[in-house]
Structures are given as structure tokens and as C-alpha cells.
């Protein structure tokens, strides 16, 4: 494993740990409003300063991280399930079904994700723009790459001897999928998760900054950035952007390195 992979993995872990632990030890409540302490720059009592309501930003970034990671985790769960089922079905069905299913994926992949997510949010009647609305929007906009990845992988698995053997003794496709294909797809699914993770985190930020995120006072990284955006506060914007960017970059570094580890043929191919 290269140092980049290790660094990326360590940074992802550090951010997650911060989001989990910081609110427990912080003396500040993330939603405590104190107008005397409005819009402060970092100080000893507030290491990352305060927002326009005097709320402690260091705590809010941690709590926001929890929500953002919850959104990302749930969306990734849906993306994995849908992507795996779609990709496996296409690969196993073959012929017309396969080409139709992949045409749909290709068609959707041609469109940018952000408008797709917005259309889904509107369809959910927006009053449902809660955490789960965002999760659904991001999942609908983001399952296609995983489906394509899985399909390619399963096509290769399909001709393996153990699949042929299982077919020969009369196993059904659902059983083969459960017993042989799923266990042999963990690597590719892991790569898919890590590839999508930064995209989903950014997607949450995109939606929130356009004013379509979870309503106040819920904190997410995107929502904190939106606060900074709409109240013209560079510092707050910088803090939120850093949280999003550091996490996204470390996750993709980690994903890249892991893909190399899992697929030795990839190793050293890229200079």
C-alpha cells in the first residue's frame, strides 16, 4: 500500500472520529444561540470561531459531519443494493435484457447528477427535503456507475468454473448470486463505495448550498457552507469547505490506492 493510500485512509478515519467524539467532549451545544458571540474568528474558547448566531463552529462541524456522513452512508447503502442488483441482473440475463438495462444506465450517466437530484427532490414535494429526501435524491442520481462496475465484474465471474459447476449441479441463479457472485464481488463493491463516497458528500453540499438541503437548525457540512454563503461570511464558508474537501480528497486517495491493491493488474500502470 502506498503512502497516499495510508494517508487517505488515516484522514478519513480522523474525520469520522472527530465527528463522533467532538460533540461528546465539547462544552458547547451545537444549537446554542448567543448573540453576544456572533460571527467570531477563532479564539481559545471557540477554536474555529462562531457562526452568525454565535454557535460554536467546531462543534457544529462535528455534528454536521455526523449528519453528512449519515446521509452519505445511507445513500451509499441504497446505491450498493440497487447497483449490485441491477448490474448482476443485467450480466446474468444477457442479450436483449442486458443491452436494454445498460442503455438505460448509459442514458442516465450522460446527464449530470445535480439536476437529477433536484428533480427527485421536487418530486418528493420538497417539504420532504429532510435528511431522507436528500438520501433518496442522491441515491437516484448516483447508482448507475456502481451498476456498470458490477455488471462488468459479474460478466467475468459468469464464465468461471465454479459458476459453471454450480449451474451443472442445478443451482438456480438467485442461489448462485448469493453463494458465489456476492462473496466474490466484495472487492469491487468496496471500491464502488469508496469511489462514490466523495461524490455523495459533495452532492449533499451542492444541494444544501442551493438552498435545497435539510432545513435549519439541522447542521450538515453543506448547510454550514450555505449559512456562510447566504450571510457572506468567508471564514464559515472556508471551514465548511475544508471539512468537505479534506474528507472527499482523502476518500478518493484511499479508493484509488485500494483499487490498485485489489487489482494487481492496475498496479504501476499509472505513472
Amino acid at each position: 500500500m502506498s503512502w497516499k493510500t495510508l494517508l487517505g485512509g488515516a484522514a478519513v478515519l480522523a474525520v469520522v472520529a472527530y465527528a463522533v467524539i467532538a460533540p461528546l467532549v465539547s462544552p458547547w451545544d451545537p444549537n446554542d444561540v448567543d448573540f453576544d458571540l456572533r460571527s467570531q474568528l477563532p479564539s481559545l474558547t471557540h477554536p474555529l470561531g462562531t457562526d452568525m448566531f454565535g454557535r460554536d463552529l467546531a462543534t457544529r462541524i462535528a455534528v454536521g459531519g455526523r449528519t453528512t456522513l449519515l446521509i452519505a452512508g445511507s445513500a451509499l447503502g441504497i446505491i450498493l443494493v440497487v447497483g449490485f442488483l441491477w448490474g448482476t441482473t443485467a450480466a446474468l440475463a444477457g442479450r436483449g435484457v442486458d443491452s436494454l438495462m445498460m442503455r438505460i444506465v448509459d442514458g442516465l450517466l450522460a446527464l449530470p447528477r445535480l439536476p437529477i437530484a433536484i428533480v427527485v427532490l421536487v418530486a418528493l414535494r420538497l417539504s420532504a427535503a429532510t435528511v431522507w429526501g436528500i438520501v433518496l435524491a442522491l441515491s437516484v442520481a448516483g447508482w448507475m456507475l456502481t451498476a456498470r462496475l458490477v455488471r462488468g465484474h459479474v460478466l467475468a465471474l459468469k464464465s468461471r468454473d465454479y459458476v459453471t459447476a454450480a449451474r451443472a449441479i442445478g443451482s438456480s441463479w438467485p442461489r448462485i448470486t448469493r453463494r458465489h457472485i456476492l462473496p466474490n464481488s466484495t472487492g469491487i463493491l468496496l471500491v464502488a463505495v469508496l469511489l462514490e463516497l466523495p461524490v455523495v458528500v459533495l452532492g449533499e453540499a451542492f444541494l444544501s448550498i442551493l438552498g435545497l438541503g435539510p432545513p435549519a437548525p439541522a447542521a450538515t457540512w453543506g448547510n454550514i457552507a450555505y449559512d456562510g454563503w447566504s450571510s457572506f461570511r468567508v471564514w464559515e464558508m472556508l471551514v465548511a469547505t475544508l471539512a468537505i474537501t479534506v474528507f472527499a480528497v482523502s476518500a478518493s486517495l484511499f479508493a484509488d490506492g485500494l483499487a490498485d491493491v485489489l487489482d494487481p493488474r492496475r498496479r504501476g500502470r499509472r505513472a
Partner: protein, 312 residues
């Protein structure tokens, strides 16, 4: 397959795609249920008489297939119909006025980002593993990684609000500089990275060695022989490029108050203005799909092997 047939086939494939997008959008909006005439708080409603008129216009009381067919007819005749929430606002006017703004913004951004990215990529590849390479790849990584919403926010905060050097909007030429600049940053980084990788590979090829052995000048080998073969990977990456530009346009237009299509799209989404959202979705999809089409045709021109493969 000759080029003409390929282009015709690609165009024919785009039509069902647009219809597919329309059908899905329509199903989502219709499936959302409820009454589009009760907007969320903060957005004014309509008097009963107006609502009845709009209901009739969009055939909202008809079966869904009829409603959909009317909509398809309206879209293909550019008669998008009125907005649900803002009176006397026709979606067709929005599309007519806002679409050119967005397309101009995106094209201008691409017009500087692609050459700049190519130059940066070539510079990096020709100085492979030297300090220049490190500088160029780091610059490309930074351009790609800094989120567009942060860039536009900071640029506007200082250049427009603080120092008042330029103004918001799209009217004045001077106001267009920052948005175009900001929108091109990430694509430039992306292009630079792609070109560098493709060039590094191409420079190892036999034909480059042959060219060198013939005694051709370094610059000529780099820009003519190697770069030509790096064009195909660049054009194949059209979809992520377009996605970067369109996504970026949302934030650029939002920050600099540019009356482009995405700013109307976001407002309509917030107000739950269904016909507006549906028609603007189609307009956006058409822009994206036409851009893909152009990239595919260019790719076939650059790499004719694609036409060969189509025969299967």
C-alpha cells in the same frame, strides 16, 4: 460505417433519450401527487380563475397519457406554456432568454479551460518527473479539488462586494470575466490531468521513437505526433467534462446573479413550480445530450476506428 451514417444514427439515438428523460420527469412530477396550486409557504398562490386556466392549459384533469402527449407536443413546438406561480411568465420566454446565457457561459468557460488544460498537461508530460511536472500536476489537482461553490463565493465576496471592481449579472462584458474564469477552473485541471496521462503513454510509443530517430524537433513530436493521439482520451471524457461545467454553472449563476437557466431551475424547484421544473429539465437535458453528440462526432473524426467498430 461512413461518418454520415454514424452521425445520423447518433442523432436518432438522442431522440428516444430525450423522450425517456421527459417520461421519467413527467412520471416523477405526476407521481408526486398533490395539488401544484398550493405552493409552499413564502410563495404566493394563484386566484381560482387563473388556476382553472392553467389546469386547462396543461390538461391536468386528463388521463396521464393524454397529458404527457400534450406536453411532448408543446415541447417539440417550443410552446412550453405559462409558469404555475409567477403570473404572465411563460416558460418559453425563460428558455428563449436564459438558455443562450447558460450556453454562452459554458462555451466561454470551455473555450479557455480546454486550451489552458492542454497546455498545462503538455508542459507536465514533456517535463515528466521533474519539478515542472510536480508543479503542474499539483496545480491541476488543486484546480480540480477546490469546490466551485467556494471559488465563486470568494471571487464575488472580494471582487464584487468588497472592492467593487466588477458588478454582478451578465449584461456588461466586464461582469462576464469572473464567472467565465471561475467556471473553467475545475475543467482546466481535469483536462490537464487527462492530457498528461495520455501524453505520458503516447511518448513511450514506437512511433514517437521513430520520429525522434528521424531527427524531428522535440516540439513537433510533442505537439503534432503525441498530442494528436492524446485527443481521443480527452474527447472520450466529454461526459464528466460536461457534468463539471453544468454543475459549476449552477453555482456560478447563483453567486453572480446571472439570469441563466440553472438559476430559474433552482428557484422553480424551491417554489415547486412543476411545469417550469419539467420544461427546464428538458432544456438542460437537450443541452447536455447535444454536447455529448458533438463530442461523439468529434471523437469519430479524431479516431476513425470507432466507425469501424460500429459495423458489428
Amino acid at each position: 460505417m461512413p461518418l454520415g451514417a454514424y452521425i445520423a444514427r447518433r442523432i436518432l439515438w438522442t431522440v428516444p433519450l430525450i423522450l425517456g428523460v421527459m417520461l421519467v420527469t413527467f412520471a416523477l412530477m405526476r407521481g408526486a401527487g398533490g395539488d401544484p396550486f398550493n405552493p409552499p409557504e413564502g410563495f404566493g398562490g394563484l386566484p381560482e380563475s387563473e388556476a382553472r386556466k392553467l389546469r386547462a392549459h396543461y390538461h391536468l384533469s386528463e388521463p396521464w397519457l393524454v397529458e404527457f402527449a400534450y406536453w411532448v407536443e408543446n415541447v417539440f413546438t417550443f410552446e412550453f406554456g405559462p409558469s404555475l406561480l409567477v403570473r404572465d411568465l411563460d416558460v418559453a420566454d425563460i428558455v428563449r432568454n436564459a438558455l443562450p446565457v447558460t450556453v454562452t457561459l459554458v462555451l466561454l468557460a470551455a473555450a479557455w479551460a480546454v486550451p489552458a488544460g492542454v497546455a498545462l498537461g503538455v508542459w507536465a508530460a514533456s517535463n515528466r518527473n521533474r519539478i515542472q511536472d510536480l508543479l503542474a500536476t499539483s496545480l491541476a489537482a488543486v484546480l480540480l479539488v477546490v469546490p466551485v461553490f467556494f471559488v465563486v463565493f470568494v471571487l464575488r465576496e472580494y471582487f464584487v462586494l468588497e472592492w467593487r471592481i466588477v458588478s454582478d449579472g451578465w449584461e456588461k462584458t466586464s461582469a462576464r470575466v469572473l464567472p467565465v474564469l471561475a467556471l473553467g477552473l475545475a475543467p482546466a485541471g481535469y483536462v490537464a490531468r487527462l492530457v498528461r496521462t495520455a501524453l505520458v503513454d503516447a511518448l513511450e510509443e514506437d512511433y514517437v521513437r521513430t520520429a525522434r530517430a528521424k531527427g524531428l524537433r522535440r516540439q513537433r513530436i510533442l505537439w503534432v505526433h503525441a498530442l494528436r493521439n492524446a485527443l481521443a482520451p480527452l474527447l472520450s471524457a466529454a461526459i464528466p467534462m460536461i457534468a463539471l461545467l453544468i454543475t459549476g454553472a449552477f453555482f456560478v449563476e447563483q453567486a453572480f446573479r446571472i439570469p441563466g437557466i440553472s438559476s430559474f431551475f433552482v428557484t422553480a424547484a424551491q417554489a415547486r413550480d412543476y411545469p417550469m421544473v419539467m420544461n427546464l429539465t428538458v432544456a438542460l437535458a437537450v443541452v447536455v445530450l447535444v454536447a455529448n453528440l458533438v463530442a461523439d462526432v468529434l471523437l469519430a473524426l479524431v479516431d476513425p476506428r470507432i466507425l469501424e467498430r460500429q459495423r458489428r
